[in-house]
Point group: C2
Chain length 221, copies 2
């Protein structure tokens, strides 16, 4: 359901070029639970951002459900992102002026879910990640790991078929981290969702069905 | 060299009170390498922020080198923070408009180090954390773990006698994380610095001389 072909990404900084991805090719099946590992700075977030249509590759192709998303306009990409993809950012990207529950509701506001249904689902998702007592806290009133869990709940808001999670357990204790990984594993196994998790934690990778290793912008497994 | 007595911190949110720390007492010797562990939301960052004089306790006392810092003015606290304490924030708090090397230089600008000495030391510290090739990148042009390492280098800028690190390896791969922990261990053993690291990673805690466990705002070890 996801395929990338010879994907490259070069960042330009003034006169310096940084090759973050240097030709990455792989496929992911529907319902697969895949992890991407590699040293700090090896290109993992760059890869996830391209698959999640949050950034454009320098060259190469990305197929989502058979559709080459590198050929789409910004508008078409925004629709695909909203409907199909749930993204957990490495640094959460929560909106600081909204409460935890309002942050989780936001994707459902854009997809037009009725208010009552939206609030009920947001509350359920916060309960799922263990944050029922923190619905009205704003991000500044939450701990690091609590913010991370709000970001995970938000990624699940529109029940996406693809979940891309960039280091979703970095700020969580072992037990809470295991609960998050088992939520993602269950979504892939029971609801046939395709889950890609970038992680540094071998314990998280162990629970996935396949590990892709990246080093210096290329796949080494 | 650090002692906290019956430390309490209650956050007020409108009409709601959140008791983040409920009476914490312990001491840390000079040159000790201590870890603080506990579930997400248990009060670790709150504790570190109080010891680092970044926030005021609701009640209780904090002694730094025998001086009760809870009795000091904002101005006196700022001087102590700048001279004695190096703080690695859970989310780095780098200045987005400055490059990596400028971020590391900044504490030395405030402490009045001559420009050439400041630049030499900042470059050395970035090399120590493995970022020589990224000195001119701004935070937005760095990966998560690279930003984290800039924050670690910056905390060491004024050669502080106390280093407080809040989850310094959450975004680092195993090898890079081990390098950071061994830097901290060496600073405590060879230079008699007092290092407190908040961590979720048992592998990091294993390298420390003592582990304090916090749960629901109190010490449980
Ligand atoms: N906007 C940018 N401009 C220039 N270089 C960049 C930019 N974003 C990332 N880089 C560089 O590209 C490389 C890959 O970055 P990326 O964020 O994908 O790494 P990563 O594998 O996610 O690392 P980490 O595990 O530390 O989060 C890094 O070396 C980084 O310095
Ligand atoms: N400004 C605030 N207002 C209200 N509640 C707060 C505030 N800051 C933190 N809290 C609450 O206090 C508790 C302790 O927060 P703290 O950040 O110290 O936890 P932590 O142990 O560092 O967690 P983590 O491992 O997730 O970073 C949390 O439950 C959090 O919701
Ligand atoms: Mg990353
Ligand atoms: Mg914290």
């Amino acid at each position: 359901v996801i395929r990338v072909e010879d994907l490259r990404k070069t960042y330009r900084m003034g006169s310096t070029l940084v090759e973050a991805l240097r030709g990455v090719t792989f496929s992911v099946e529907r319902g697969e639970f895949l992890s991407v590992m590699g040293p700090s700075g090896s290109g993992k977030s760059t890869l996830l951002n391209l698959i999640g249509a949050l950034d454009r590759p320098t060259s190469g192709r990305i197929f989502l459900d058979g559709l080459d998303i590198t050929k789409l306009s910004e508008k078409e990409l925004a629709i695909i992102r909203r409907k199909k993809i749930g993204f957990v950012f490495q640094f959460f990207n929560l909106i600081p002026t909204l409460t935890a529950i309002e942050n989780v509701e936001l994707p459902m506001v854009f997809s037009g879910l009725p208010r009552r249904e939206r609030k009920r689902r947001a509350s359920e998702l916060l309960e799922l990640v263990g944050l029922s007592g923190r619905e009205r806290h704003k991000p500044g009133e939450l701990s690091g790991g609590e913010q991370q869990r709000v970001a995970i709940a938000r990624a699940l808001a529109n029940d996406p078929s693809v979940i891309l999670a960039d280091e979703p357990t970095g700020n969580l204790d072992t037990k809470t981290g295991e609960e998050v990984v088992s939520i993602m594993e269950r979504l892939s196994r029971e609801e046939d969702k395709t889950v890609i998790v970038v992680t540094h934690d071998p314990e998280v990778a162990k629970k996935t069905s396949r590990i892709i290793e990246i080093r210096d912008g290329t796949i080494v497994t």
